[in-house]
């Protein structure tokens, strides 16, 4: 992800179409914000004028206390107007910034939901977290305070410049303003450098976040191998890098403010020298000279604000690129153009000449796979570690995409089946049982979300975990912790089975799903499957012959190829790989018999 950003040509924050769409959407908010800002600014300039005039009155000693009280009433009402105006612009400008922040974060999450498994292999949760909070904050800074500063700078700057040019010797103005032009040039250069450094800083931050996230996920490994001290050293390297990148950025960002002051100071120095000179030469009057000096000092604030605006915009632009790098990531797995017009899916599966390589790898993981199962049949898959069993079933779920005309479900090309329909009709029990930090009840109900307790209990009973659950103090309301940490391996596995069963799907896929349960329990689960899944298709992956021996069809995978297929009986007679696994699993028992 990061490499891509570097190579991309940098564009301005406001040039992004994505941002423009938001500005358009919220244009009335911003407009109202600007109006209230202007009202406040104008009202504010009234205050010294009113106070000034009343003081003049007092000086003349020709006044009555009623005049004073009317002036005070005036002042108070103005201040109330300002009060309201300020609340209004904060709400309209800063508040809108917050709304857009939320919109963008939602967009990012929505987009992430469409990303394929490949994407999440390259982009870790730690990094994504940094993008969605840290980078988004920099973008938000532009949309709130950044825009405010920009308006301020533009308004104040133009007004002052305008009156300078119109009212005083244009030549002098030029002499004063030329140094200001320096800014324009240096801004561009500094802005670019600024952005580069900010990007590096954000990258270092994301790296840090990724590192911490990963180490804490693997904390148990760290502890059991006593790697704490060394992990801390590795952490320190990360912290050091963020420190360096931060300082690198700070060196340029904190230059902005003094630099702007410097340039406006420089302009003043020139004005004093040259202005003094032409005053002596009597080309302008002394009054012009002092007025000019005053105008120039009025320019100091807009200048400094310009510096801050540059910082905010440069940072925002760098972060926006990163945010957009997520948003612009192409959706790899989506509904095809010639989508089949079907709204039910039955569970017959046919695979024809399927070859598969994982994206960006050389290794042929599946080679010329062919098989067919009818609706209602059970397919058993067995084979060595790494032989491609999991790959085969994840392809059915379209976690990765196959070629056209290789896989057919219900007679339809897999790629033409609406993605949602496909996944709604498949119940999947993955090999690693990922549970969410929610209650057991909600974890089982994950795919259905109806909260029907009787269905949940039924599924739990079918996967033989009900007894365990009611043993817990909080029963089905027990919160399982992230990834289900408070459960035993077997409990996790069976909850994950229940989560698939409750969907009552046309196709059920069990990937090595009874590996962590004892034989007794396994027996029961298989029995329930047999009863409940009549007429529906099942795919069962296992290492134990006993788990799959009753399947209608068994395929034996080796190194990505189907080396044997048939029923248990047929395969045992074939005296091939299946038979040798069978022998090995049986042999130990035979040995026992002899003892």
């Amino acid at each position: 992800m990061n490499n891509k950003i570097k190579s991309k040509k940098t564009t301005g924050f406001m040039k992004s179409n994505y941002i423009r769409a938001f500005l358009k959407k919220y244009k009335f908010n911003y407009l109202l914000g600007v109006i209230s800002l202007i009202v406040v600014d104008i009202a504010q300039t009234r205050v010294p004028i009113i106070v000034g005039s009343v003081i003049d009155q007092i000086e003349s000693k020709n006044f009555h206390m009623t005049l004073i009280s009317s002036v005070i009433i005036k002042l108070v009402s103005i201040s109330i107007a300002i009060y309201i105006g300020r609340i209004a612009w904060r709400f309209f400008i800063f508040g809108t910034g917050r709304s857009i922040e939320k919109d963008i974060r939602n967009d990012m999450f929505l987009h992430l939901e469409k990303m394929s498994s490949r994407y999440f292999q390259d982009n870790t949760p730690g990094e994504i977290m940094a993008y969605m909070t840290n980078d988004l904050e920099a973008v938000r800074m532009v949309l709130g305070p950044g825009i405010l500063f920009l308006i301020d700078v533009l308004a104040m700057g133009t007004i002052t410049l305008y009156s300078m040019i119109v009212q005083i010797d244009p030549l002098l103005t030029l002499a004063g303003v030329v140094p200001l032009l320096l800014i324009a040039v240096s801004v561009r250069i500094m802005g670019r450098e600024n952005r580069k450094r900010f990007r590096n800083k954000q990258e270092a931050f994301a790296e840090l976040s990724k590192f911490v996230q990963e180490q804490l996920t693997g904390i148990k490994v760290i502890k059991s191998f006593v790697q704490e001290e060394k992990t801390i050293d590795a952490f320190e390297r990360n912290v050091k890098r963020t420190y360096e990148k931060n300082m690198h950025l700070i060196k340029i960002q904190s230059l902005m403010h003094p630099f702007m002051q410097f340039i406006s100071g420089l302009a003043l120095a020139v004005a004093i020298g040259y202005g003094g000179y032409i005053t002596i030469k009597q080309r302008i009057t002394l009054g012009d000279f002092t007025a000019f000096i005053q105008y120039l000092s009025m320019l100091v604030w807009p200048m400094v604000a310009t510096g801050m605006t540059i910082n905010i915009f440069a940072s925002g632009a760098a972060s926006l690129e990163r945010v957009e790098s997520i948003l612009n990531e192409p959706v790899e797995i989506k509904d095809s153009e010639n989508l089949s017009n079907i709204d039910t899916l039955l569970g017959s599966i046919e695979v024809k000449n399927l070859n598969y390589k994982y994206p960006n790898t050389e290794n042929q993981v599946l080679k010329n796979i062919n098989f067919k199962i009818e609706k209602g049949q059970t397919l058993g898959i067995i084979g060595r570690t790494g032989s491609g069993k999991t790959t085969l079933v994840t392809l059915l779920l379209r976690l990765f995409d196959v070629d056209k005309n290789t896989v057919f479900i219900n007679g339809e090309d897999l790629l033409n089946i609406p993605l949602k329909l496909l996944r709604e009709n498949i119940g999947y029990v993955p090999q690693d049982n990922f549970l969410f930090s929610d209650t057991i009840k909600n974890n089982i109900d994950f795919g259905v979300r109806k909260g029907e307790m009787d269905k949940i209990i039924e599924a739990a009973k079918d996967s033989v975990v009900h007894e365990n659950i009611i043993d817990f103090k909080d029963g089905y309301e027990t919160v399982v912790g992230e990834r289900g940490v408070v459960l035993s391996g077997g409990q996790k596995q069976r909850i994950s089975i229940a989560r698939a069963l409750i969907k009552n799907p046309e196709i059920l896929i069990l990937d090595d799903s009874v590996s962590a349960v004892d034989t007794d329990t396994e027996e029961k689960i298989l029995k329930h499957l047999n009863e409940k899944r009549k007429g529906k298709t099942n795919i069962i992956i296992a290492h134990r012959i006993s788990t799959i021996q009753n399947s209608d069809k068994i395929i034996v995978l080796d190194d990505g190829k189907i080396v044997e297929s048939g029923t248990h009986k047929e395969l045992v007679h074939k005296k091939g790989l299946y038979h040798s696994i069978y022998e090995k699993q049986l042999l130990e028992k035979m040995l026992e018999e002899q003892k």
Binding site: I55, I68, V76, S79, I87, F94, K102, R105, L112, E113, S117, Q121, D122, T124, P125, T133, V212, L216, I219, Q227, K230, I232, V239, K240, Y243, M247, I250, S254, L255, P258, G265, L266, A269, I272, G273, G276, I280, G287, T361, G383, T385, K389, T391, R423, Q431, F436, G447, E482, G489, G490, D512, S515, A516, V517, D518, I545, I581, Q585, E588, K589
Partner: protein, 602 residues
């Protein structure tokens, strides 16, 4: 646990300020230096208008009247004078530039260093917290504390400390000048001060609460992202994208709402200062004009006082802004201190024993244990393993097998009873030597990003490549690793997601063996591995672990039947104990399990 942390927060209050300042203490000199620089800058800035005044007064006044004829000599000397002052002005500009840049860098570097230190301290502490802590706190939240929350302290050190001091100085200066100028008018103007104080305190209270909420919500969002990105595959497979998005939207909206609340408190507080400013001016005009009428003061006094009042509110405004940063830093620091105040892992006696190696005797004496109060997971468990023995644990899932292994490595402390290794209570053995000598292969495999080698040796550089290959051969991992494009240097992504489950297990197995532990603990180490490989591994293990104690947990009885002793667990109790033959003849649980597996296989 999280809720508990939040309750804890209440008790912090002012101690957080002190703790935060303590981090700045070692840098006191730098802060003083920065303040000196600022004072210097202020002096120069005060001098600048004087320079401009000088230009006018000394050289230009004569040109005020148009067309006055002044001889060229004087003109020339005036020009030289003007240019000189312009140069001096330029020099002052350069000086301010250099000084303010230097000051900014000094403070930023100090701030960054402090954050560096806090991060180190935090991570150092975090990684030593007990496993239980990680069970109860979502990782995303913990990550937020190390990254975002520490970042939020930055401004506290780079701007607050110095600016608050500066504002207070300025404020004091103005108050003193006002009082010396006109006592009565000053008192009248100061009547607004109590209101400022009240407003500020109320504001502080409210904004503190909101800041806490904001920090809280940010970490919730992060936790949500972290968890759901990790489990995105499940979300997609179950086609619940919409529902999960709604949940996210909800979290997101919660954060926005908090931000809007903050915005409103701010927009109410900030202009309040302005209103009070106007009030002060009104008071001045009202009473001032009366006093002018009475002749006690002149109009000039009013004019000057009016200036003072606006000067008086400048530092107050400044302080209010600083206060907000302080609040935000406070909220972040409470969360950081919340972790730092967690009890570190299972307390170690300072005189705990360091052991180079174990003989390998393990004994449980009437051990009672529960994760949560009153839910006993192990009930009066006693057993003994002799050095060099190979002992297997079997039993229904959830019976407590993994728990026993966790207790031996002391991830949790037991409530009753004793656990002894080589006849020493494990509480007296240093955690490091305990875990170093026990090789535990966890049921949940975790691979780090890096390469195959780095996953096997972890961070121990003294493990050679040969040792890595050797142990990979033992577990038959070499077989598939040697087929990878870059063999042992092949890149591994987080979680090892590009390997099959069995391959991950093999790598994790090799990792356990390469450390050559005296006691080996295997929890379902071959659950996802095919039979052929499993048999090979078992043969290798038999040779490798000769004379070393091995504890295994397995559901496939074929893996355990050759053990010296088999312990059958049921609902946290030991039901049967003995070798394969003895247990079969007891015709109990084991016999039943065995028969089941045997029959199935036929």
């Amino acid at each position: 646990m999280i809720k508990k942390n939040f309750k804890n927060n209440k008790k912090y209050g002012n101690t957080s300020y002190i703790r935060l300042l303590n981090y700045a203490k070692p840098h006191t000199m730098k802060f003083i230096f920065a303040i000196l620089i600022i004072l210097f800058i202020v002096v120069i800035e005060l001098y600048q208008p004087v320079l401009i005044g000088d230009v006018v007064d000394k050289f230009l006044v004569h040109y005020g009247i148009a067309e006055s004829n002044i001889d060229t000599n004087l003109n020339n000397s005036n020009i030289i004078g003007v240019v000189k002052i312009a140069l001096v002005y330029f020099a002052s500009v350069v000086a301010i530039f250099l000084l303010s840049y230097a000051q900014a860098i000094i403070l930023s570097r100090t701030g960054q260093k402090i954050i560096y230190n806090i991060r180190m301290e935090l991570f150092n502490h975090l990684i030593k917290l007990p496993i239980n802590f990680f069970t109860n706190n979502p990782i995303g939240k913990l990550v937020t504390r190390v990254t975002n929350d520490t970042e939020a302290l930055n401004e506290m050190y780079t701007s607050v400390i110095v600016n608050i001091l500066k504002s207070i100085f300025v404020l004091l200066g103005i108050v003193i000048t006002m009082i010396t100028y006109n006592f009565k008018l000053s008192l009248l103007t100061f009547t607004v001060i109590p209101f400022i104080v009240i407003f500020t305190f109320t504001f502080e209270k409210i904004s503190k609460k909101i800041h806490r909420q904001i920090r809280n919500k940010i970490s919730s969002i992060n936790a949500f992202i972290s968890e759901h990105v990790s489990g995105m595959r499940i979300v997609q497979v179950f086609a619940v994208e919409k529902e999960i998005f709604d949940k996210f939207d909800n979290e997101n909206e919660n954060l926005r709402k908090e931000h809007m609340k903050q915005l409103f408190t701010f927009s109410i507080y900030n202009p309040t200062n302005f209103v009070l400013n106007i009030t002060a001016v009104s008071i001045l005009i009202w009473f001032g004009s009366k006093m002018v009428l009475e002749g006690t003061i002149t109009v000039g006094t009013i004019v000057i006082f009016q200036r003072y009042i606006s000067k008086f509110f400048e530092p107050i405004q400044e302080l209010a802004e600083q206060l907000n940063i302080v609040q935000s830093a406070m909220a972040a620091s409470e969360r950081i201190f919340g972790i730092l105040d967690e009890e570190p892992e299972i307390k170690e006696d300072s005189n705990s024993i360091e052991l180079k190696s174990f003989k390998g005797k393990i004994e449980f004496k009437n051990v009672w244990f529960s994760y949560k109060e009153n839910e006993w997971i192990l009930k009066d468990v006693s057993f003994k393993v002799n050095p060099g023995e190979n002992v297997a644990f079997v039993g229904a899932t959830g019976a407590g097998k993994t728990t026993i292994q966790n207790l031996i490595c002391r991830y949790y402390d037991i409530q009753k009873g004793e656990i002894l290794i080589d006849d020493i209570n494990i509480k007296d053995i240093s955690l490091t030597s305990l875990r170093k000598n026990i090789g535990q292969m966890l049921q949940d495999v975790f691979l780090f990003s890096g390469n195959v080698k780095s996953n096997i040796r972890l961070l121990n550089e003294n493990i050679t490549d040969e040792e890595i290959i050797e142990s990979s051969k033992y577990v038959n991992a070499d077989n598939f690793i040697s087929k990878l494009s870059e063999v042992y240097d092949t890149h591994v992504i987080e979680n090892g997601a590009a390997f099959s489950a069995g391959q991950r297990q093999l790598i994790s197995f090799a990792r356990t063996l390469v450390f050559k532990p005296d006691i080996l603990i295997l929890d379902e180490a071959t659950a996802n591995i095919d039979t052929e490989t499993e048999v090979l591994i078992q043969d290798a293990l038999k040779k490798l672990m000769k004379g070393r104690t091995t504890l295994i947990v397995a559901h496939r009885l074929s893996t355990v039947q050759n053990s010296d002793k088999i312990i059958v667990m049921h609902k946290g109790e030991i039901r049967e104990e003995g070798n394969h033959q003895e247990l079969l003849s007891q015709k109990g649980i084991y016999y039943k399990l065995y028969k089941l597996q045997y029959e199935q296989a036929l």
